[in-house]
Amino acid sequence: MTETLADRVVAPFGARVVPVLERAEHGAYLVLTCADRHGPEPEPGQFYMLMAARRWGGGAGERPYLPRAFSVLRAPAGTLQFLLEAVGPATRRLCELDAGDGLSIVGPLGRGFRPPRDGRRPVLCGGGVGIAPLALWQDVLGPGTPALLGFRDAAHAAGSALLRDARVACDDGSHGHHGLVTELLAAELDAGAPAEVFACGPPPMLEAVRALCAQHGAPCQLALESGMACGYGACFGCVVPTTRGLIRLCLEGPVLEGSELGPEAFAMPGHGS
């Protein structure tokens, strides 16, 4: 098959049920740690499709039925960590899980972050639960990599402890900079050597990052969201508009180049929260 590219870590074929090892609350977020002794080590920016092994369904509106995509937060020694925020029936059910419960996982899936080009210094920029894929990437890039994180309020800003030396912006002024994380990013881009930005967060934030980077002539890699049914290219459901046309985010992303995206990629219902 000519299109098989060695551009990613491939997942074992099929869903596997692994035990949850720990749940830890971080303000408004939950970090769920599960075992995955036999799975490959994920790359930063890759994701897994998750379902509770039992009682997936019967929640609000008789949902969830399909699995959901979650970025890997970190993957210490034979385990996987996910950062969850309860926003609907699936995340609420996952947030109920406790040590010993079974988690059905498929992954790692998708294409993650690529290293910064042309010796540019990396800058991480995250919003809300979108900080998840940046944690592992910061570990790889080095602890000194600046991380600019935006949150709604103090309960959410608690998540900033998951990255190293994060600089925080908070909508309600309760924490760090009172305002938007893109204000921190603008200052950072103005300040130092030529940068490449790695961002993940709500669509309006990503669109602001994209526009800002374009202005500054800084390349950026954006981890997008989109409603997914399968996560492995089977359903053609997760497409986003790019300069290459509609592409399957689960297969060609979730990390895409800012240069191939326009505002319309961030203006669709169901694409991100």
Partner: protein
């Protein structure tokens, strides 16, 4: 023409087991990228049906294309594909390398388009059978052609002479009299029929009167439609003698067995593969009785 859980003979194809994929729900080329060679070593289907091919390339419908419903999924994909030329050049060589027979699903917006497609695949040895999509609820003509026995008969008469390969007709469930359409297809030379396609559905964008799906309406699949599928398969089995490929919400070997008992020869798995890409392997094993529940893997 029904068969037990053993190795079925379907229109002259010897298959390892009765479980295949539902058209448009498993892109083997993409799955190969996601899962590597493990996919080919443990290929879950006994025959592979590729996603609908049209004469011209199609982008498909604008997003969003998915909406989760109680115990199911509604989609409005809109048949994205590279078109006939692209398929022949890009997809066919890769799909021919799969370890199982290939069935190509085609759809035309007129009888002549269908003839073009059938004619193009007729000489291809890599292709074991052709399937005519007359039932896709996302494209205007699908609804019309597949819902009317006369239309289906005329289509078959037009294209049946063009190939010796088995011609399968995929029926639409959104019809008053599905068995009549199946009979018309059989009488006009169809080698087999497959059903059910998705049921026409709709969702609104929360808090608005606008449809959620970029394509407006969509098609419902998954466990929510299983009882409806079983009723249609059972009525069609009473009306035709050609083999039936049954699908709609199959999640377990027990569900597959019910479709076989209702008169199907093969059973296709669609939406369940989204929950577990290897679901069809488990289902085939459950069907043949060789399945033990797995322990926690971690």
């Amino acid at each position: 023409m029904t068969c037990a859980a053993g190795a079925p003979d379907f229109c002259g194809l010897r298959l390892a087991h009765p479980i295949i994929n539902a058209y448009g729900t498993f892109d083997a080329i993409a799955a190969r990228r996601a899962f590597g060679d493990a996919l080919l070593e443990a290929f879950p289907f006994s025959a592979y049906v590729s996603k609908t091919v049209t004469v011209a390339p199609r982008q498909g419908n604008p997003p969003p294309r998915l909406w989760e419903v109680p115990a199911g999924l509604m989609n409005s994909i809109g048949l994205p594909n590279r078109g006939l030329e692209g398929y022949l050049v890009h997809d066919l060589p890769q799909l021919a390398a799969l370890p199982v027979p290939l069935i190509v699903n085609v759809m035309g917006f007129s009888r002549d388009e269908v003839a073009t497609l059938v004619g193009a695949f007729a000489p291809r040895e890599e292709v074991s059978a052709l399937e005519l999509n007359v039932s896709c609820p996302n494209v205007e003509t699908g609804m019309v052609m597949g819902a009317d026995p006369g239309e289906v008969a005329r289509l078959l008469q037009h294209v049946r002479p063009l190939t010796d390969k088995p011609l399968i007709v995929k029926l639409t469930p959104n019809a008053s009299d599905v068995p009549a359409v199946a009979r018309a297809a059989q009488d006009a030379g169809a080698s087999a029929v497959s059903l059910i396609n998705t049921l026409r559905g709709m969702a609104l964008r929360p808090g608005s009167a606008e449809p959620w799906l970029g394509g407006g309406a969509g098609g419902v699949s998954g466990p929510a439609v299983r009882a409806i599928a079983l009723a249609q398969v059972s009525s069609v089995a009473a009306a035709v003698s050609v083999p039936i490929i049954a699908m709609g919400g199959v999640q377990t070997g027990a569900h597959a067995r019910e479709f076989l008992l209702a008169g199907a020869s093969l059973v296709a798995v669609g939406t369940e593969s989204f929950r577990d890409p290897a679901a069809a392997r488990r289902i085939a094993a459950e069907l043949s009785g060789s399945y033990g529940a797995p322990a926690l893997a971690g």
